[in-house]
Symmetry: C2
Subunit: 208 residues, 2 copies
């Protein structure tokens, strides 16, 4: 019996993304199968944790054989929802935004429909194959495209107003690269944050 | 009595970095004090969790008064070790590297001593005030500067060999932006990873 997905802790989902990443490596290397033991060693986990994680979604290996890479990868893809693309926008086409624009969205469950920046010099330019629009066009374009998610790559100072504005359009999911905690401002939004400063400080603490 | 620092879970440290970030906002806004309740509301936690986290390091507020912003910020700075700077290098001066070079290292516990890239066109250029060296100079410069940490901003394909090479020089701490799990390769290293793809996939899952 598989668990109701609502009961799956976020920590399991974060491990699923790591399994998926490693399954991609195995597939590229032409590996046909993987045991829970080998999986665990590669990811610094225990074999029983791997079996439990995958089993909680109904992905079961065979004793003495393990998992078929191709089948398991498809299963994890399905669990994470990667094959059904959600429309998203990216705001802030500076260095971070450009780095983020190099990501392979379509393999990560997203279809990027527009890039916005407030810098008039960037307007109309193409970055990584995406045309940059003025932030003034945000409402107009979003009304047409109906994106569901926004990737925020702007400096912190601008984020508070920007996030509220985007949420007002009806975009309720955010990948937040700013230092600002959007989730406090918009308690009903779905927010996944990447706080680079926090990671830096955590590393500094661990080096004590 | 304060806990032995070895007993502090990493989850508490990650919250400490958020407290620190928010204390910076309060300080810039000229706020003199903050109650554990107001703190909790701003960060989506409970007041008792805030008191417990801060108390575990011996930072106690006063009932009915709260914490003094300036004093608490200094205390968290001390806990995280931010005032004693550790030397670090950055490898990979592309868009992501450039975005990361814009960070305020000296406020985050690090002193950046050199930037490296394998692209000969970048050699000798200045990015965000830092001169870029050829990766061929890695050993020579590190022998002189003795950095303790490396920030990895290179594509995944190159990371496996690069991380081993850097570890071989004696650098044992890593801030890893690549998709590769360095910690598996170097089990004794201190690794803090920022996997952008994983965050993207986690957001996609949460949108289901």
């Amino acid at each position: 019996m598989t668990l109701n997905e609502k009961d799956i802790p976020l920590a399991v989902i974060r491990r699923m993304t790591r399994y998926y990443r490693y399954l991609g490596v195995l597939e590229r290397n032409g590996e046909g199968k993987i045991s829970s033991q080998a999986f665990a060693e590669q990811l610094g986990l225990t074999a029983s944790q791997v079996r439990q994680d995958l089993g909680s979604f109904g992905a079961f290996g065979h004793r003495g054989f393990g998992y078929e890479v191709k089948i398991l990868k498809e299963k994890v893809e399905e669990i994470l929802g990667l094959s059904e693309l959600k429309k998203c926008i990216l705001v802030g086409a500076g260095n971070l935004g450009t780095a983020v624009l190099s990501m392979n969205y379509e393999k990560l469950g997203f279809h990027l429909v527009a890039v916005f920046d407030k810098n008039p010099e960037l307007e109309g330019k193409e970055i990584r194959g995406h045309k940059v629009y003025s932030i003034d066009k945000l409402e107009e374009i979003c009304e047409k495209e109906i994106p569901e998610a926004a990737i925020i790559c702007t400096p912190s100072v601008a984020v508070e107003n920007l996030a509220t504005r985007i949420y007002g359009i009806g975009i309720t999911s955010f990948l937040n690269f700013s230092h600002y905690d959007i989730s406090i401002l918009l308690p009903d939004a779905i927010v996944e944050s990447v706080h680079l400063n926090d990671s830096m400080m955590t590393l500094r603490y661990l080096m004590k």
